[in-house]
Symmetry: C2
């Protein structure tokens, strides 16, 4: 589960690492079904696009067993602990839908920009680690990264309250262009079950999904425990206030749920 | 220049063929500079996004020497003549910009749907052949195809006058979903100079370009001469009325212009 020297060097240079197929198709399919169940519920943690379809479900690890286990999965927790050099707690947990036809844009931004401005997280000792629950292709609104942009530190941003249903601190075009002239712009694509980890300072975005296929991704935002947030302006199910270190479960922690669904389907 | 048996079989099954790097980087770069020149002119053939940046330049082969030569290039004309089984004329010629940040969506549609309804083109004996003038990637709004959808014939469509600055006969979501469940959804990506040919019945779309890089593609819509349009409701620089068969130029017809720009740059 530990990152090797090559991976550590690449993370330092690019600000992200991509592991296609890190979770099995069965694990990804089980979590996809759980996501559908969550989206179908009417609860405050499920944020919707202006069209009404689900955009993101917050804090699903607090009310869904599959996502609870994923939130302590060693394939996710251990490499992040290694990179951040300490215990981690769950700062934010999102299951982003990017629904077929309706999934809207996420504008260019840095996650730490929001965590610093809204939540007063002291340092960028926090990062994202994501699992694809659908195949992510060039066609269904993949995540876009500007490699190396994490080295720019916290860049200026404006609070965009208008573009989508979700408020976001976003970067202006001149800044994005300048960073992309140095680092380019990439879209990691791969099968359901792929894992993607990226610096909380990495500049990223994703386009609308106009394709007929959904594109669900789970994001854990993990923060080193002593670097916990100081301000509590956002809802506790968006910016969590439980700073308990996460104890990783066993690597086969999803197997029981996969088997349970397989039985139910017979 | 002729398509082989494998290519003909693949075109029949999928409705498109993709040839990465069919034109040289120098040829593509010369045409990209010509596109910038065209977009910078204030003329009726240059259609703009609601933001004001260029969306498409129509009929550039009639007022630009580079695009005039490309419009009779043997790498484009000959395979289309082979597939359509006769002489061809230029029904439409578009240089589509899909500008960085501003390039807007093209909704799901079949080109022949518009040519039949608006222009009374008798049969789908017409097709598109395109040349990438920029690298097309997962990040900058690639063209999306539903392979095999050309076999569905002309499918029902509604006239969308609202979504973008350009009116288009577009397909509903149920139809797109049903076709994609059979054929999937692909995004041919490749370097500047790549060539893409596709049936006028192939269902396609392209998402907005939110990346900091432009994505210019030239589209020739070629029609078999006896299948020329019967109605003249659209502007003659959008749906052409000159049905003269195109005589292909020599394969090196762009070299002189490439050399000329190279000299000018020294």
């Amino acid at each position: 589960m530990r990152l090797n020297e090559t991976e550590l060097k690449r993370f330092d240079e690019d600000g992200y690492l991509f592991f296609p197929g890190k979770f099995t198709p069965a694990e990804a399919a089980m979590l996809k079904r759980e996501a559908e169940t969550v989206y179908a519920t009417d609860r405050k943690e499920v944020w919707r696009e202006s069209s009404g379809v689900a955009r993101t479900a917050f804090a699903a690890h607090t009310y869904n067993e599959g996502f609870r286990r994923l939130g302590a999965h060693p394939r996710l927790i251990e490499p992040v602990r290694q990179l951040l050099g300490g215990e981690v707690y769950m700062h934010q947990y999102k299951v982003n839908a990017k629904a077929a036809f309706d999934g809207d844009v996420w504008q260019w931004h840095q996650d730490y920009g929001t965590w610093k401005r809204d939540d007063e997280m002291p340092e960028p000792r926090a990062m994202n680690i994501a699992v694809f629950l659908d195949d992510v292709t060039a066609a269904n609104g993949p995540l876009l990264f500007i490699p190396g942009s994490h080295k720019a530190g916290v860049v200026a941003a404006g609070h965009d309250l208008a573009t989508t249903s979700y408020p976001l601190w976003t970067l202006d075009r001149a800044t994005v262009t300048e960073l992309a002239e140095r680092g380019g712009c990439v879209a990691p694509t791969g099968p359901a079950g792929s894992m993607l980890m990226f610096s909380s300072l990495l500049v990223h975005a994703s386009p609308p999904n106009i394709s007929p296929f959904g594109r669900t991704i789970v994001y854990l935002s993990l923060c080193e425990v002593e670097n916990h947030i100081r301000a509590f302006r956002r809802e506790p199910w968006i910016a969590h206030r439980d700073f308990t270190p996460i104890t990783p479960l066993a690597d086969d922690c999803l197997d029981e749920l996969v088997a349970g669904q397989a039985v139910a389907a017979e």
